[in-house]
Symmetry: C2
Subunit: 272 residues, 2 copies
């Protein structure tokens, strides 16, 4: 989960999301609308008897605040809370396994803020299970096939790669840029992502306000999408002044047609 | 407002309560369900341009926590936030004006917790406006009439109290006992209140759990109501195990018939 505003727990109930399925929480920065639901969620997980470790990524002071809240309520969590500090101004790979790499990078806001980019690793070619069985291909030869090579088995049989594998699914990517003023400094981190979430607090008429408050306009978000080569853009974090979001979307699409509005409860699929 | 759990702002919107009308907030203790909505509400008041002072009463560490949250979000509140510390274990009059006195007193819970009692001051007898006009009673004689005395005006006219005044409305009182184990130590503070809110987390079958967690059962709440001479009892803070609250109410009414269930959005009138 990325960011956790007040009432996140209630939204979980509303959309039937089980908090037990969440194992990693990323907090972009310490403005209230991005983290004030976190302490309550962590308490709830405790009350529901969670045992699984929970990984939390955020500004180092977030953990100071939480530890104070645990102490004041005389709470010793039943599950391991593993905190990964995001130091202000630093870019770092904060998670990596066989399939996925997650990088945190600085955005430009009034308080230290990080964006996140989630990139699947490149997959090898997919081997047909039927070919493995009929040709008795041993497991230690799979990697050569995944890499696209033809192989000769010990019994002398030539296995043509094109006959036993198929192209892999493309590795997908998603970037999340919460609150930020317009700058090209983080473009390098989000190059070519399949889906970019980017804030668009204001329409262009309020550009001066956006600059002052270190927020983005619709045009800023669209330019970041264009310049980064993102395939699709989801905008959000709209100012409360906009009751009707259609003009906000129209202004974004004028520059970047593949733009969509983030709305409560809406699901987007990250795909090619 | 007494206590401020997560989502209080959303409930305000739901029940059309304007946060600008709130000038005093009382926090009984620092368990999450009693204060995690406070920081967000204070930020919202700031964003809405509040100028009026806000008085906040709570554990001294509450203010340390809030100041940290303000600092981390680079927020300097636009309105004066006047903090009144409730020191653990201490009883004190925390508010007093011409009409009302509010006292905070210790409850018995796992962390320092205060209850609150709101008592209107005793009113004098009410003087008929028509009598003031027709007899030209000067303002500096009102207090004697309020005190029930007959007076002789400068022109020699005897004004019989019973003819120009009527009995005052009874001074009303309300007590709030959030989370507490059963004890007689706070009975003296809530003597004879018109309405007592008291937690009743468990039914009697879970009395052992209630003792261990320093919560009350239905019977505990009813006994406190009986022993304090309260006129009516509102119970709340029910364990999530009770989907059906009718048995909870029935068990309370068996001991104290004038018992009612607190439910979201329900309004109770404090009256004789």
């Amino acid at each position: 989960m990325i960011d956790c505003g007040e009432g996140t727990q209630m939204q979980f109930r509303r959309y039937k999301i089980r908090h037990s399925r969440i194992n990693h929480i990323f907090i972009s920065h310490l403005h209230g609308d991005h983290y004030l639901g976190l302490a309550g969620l962590l308490f709830t997980m405790h009350l529901f008897g969670r045992k699984a470790p929970l990984h939390l990524y955020g500004n180092p002071e977030l953990m100071v605040l939480l530890e104070m809240q645990f102490r004041l309520s005389d709470t010793v969590l039943l599950y391991p809370l593993i905190f990964h500090p995001l130091n202000p101004g630093e870019t770092s790979v904060i998670f990596e396994d066989t399939w996925l790499q997650i990088t945190a990078f600085p955005l430009m806001h009034r308080v230290p803020t990080h964006g996140f980019v989630f990139r699947e690793k490149t997959f090898g070619r997919r081997i047909f299970k039927a070919a493995i069985a009929s040709l008795s291909i041993p497991a230690d030869r799979y990697q050569e096939l995944r890499d696209g090579k033809d192989i000769v088995l010990e019994n002398g049989v030539l296995v043509k790669n094109s006959e036993v594998t198929t192209a892999p699914r493309k590795a997908l990517s998603f970037a999340y840029c919460s609150d930020t003023g317009y700058t090209d400094q983080y473009l390098k981190h989000i190059k070519g992502v399949d889906v970019l979430y980017h804030e668009a607090t204001f329409m262009v008429e309020k550009e001066a306000g956006a600059r002052e408050k270190m927020h983005s306009t619709t045009q800023d978000a669209a330019r970041i999408a264009l310049q980064s080569g993102a395939k699709r853009l989801i905008i959000g974090h709209y100012s409360a002044r906009y009751d009707d979001l259609e003009p906000v979307l129209a202004e974004t699409r004028a520059l970047f047609p593949e733009s969509y509005l983030a709305e409560e409860g809406l699901e987007f699929m990250v795909s090619e």
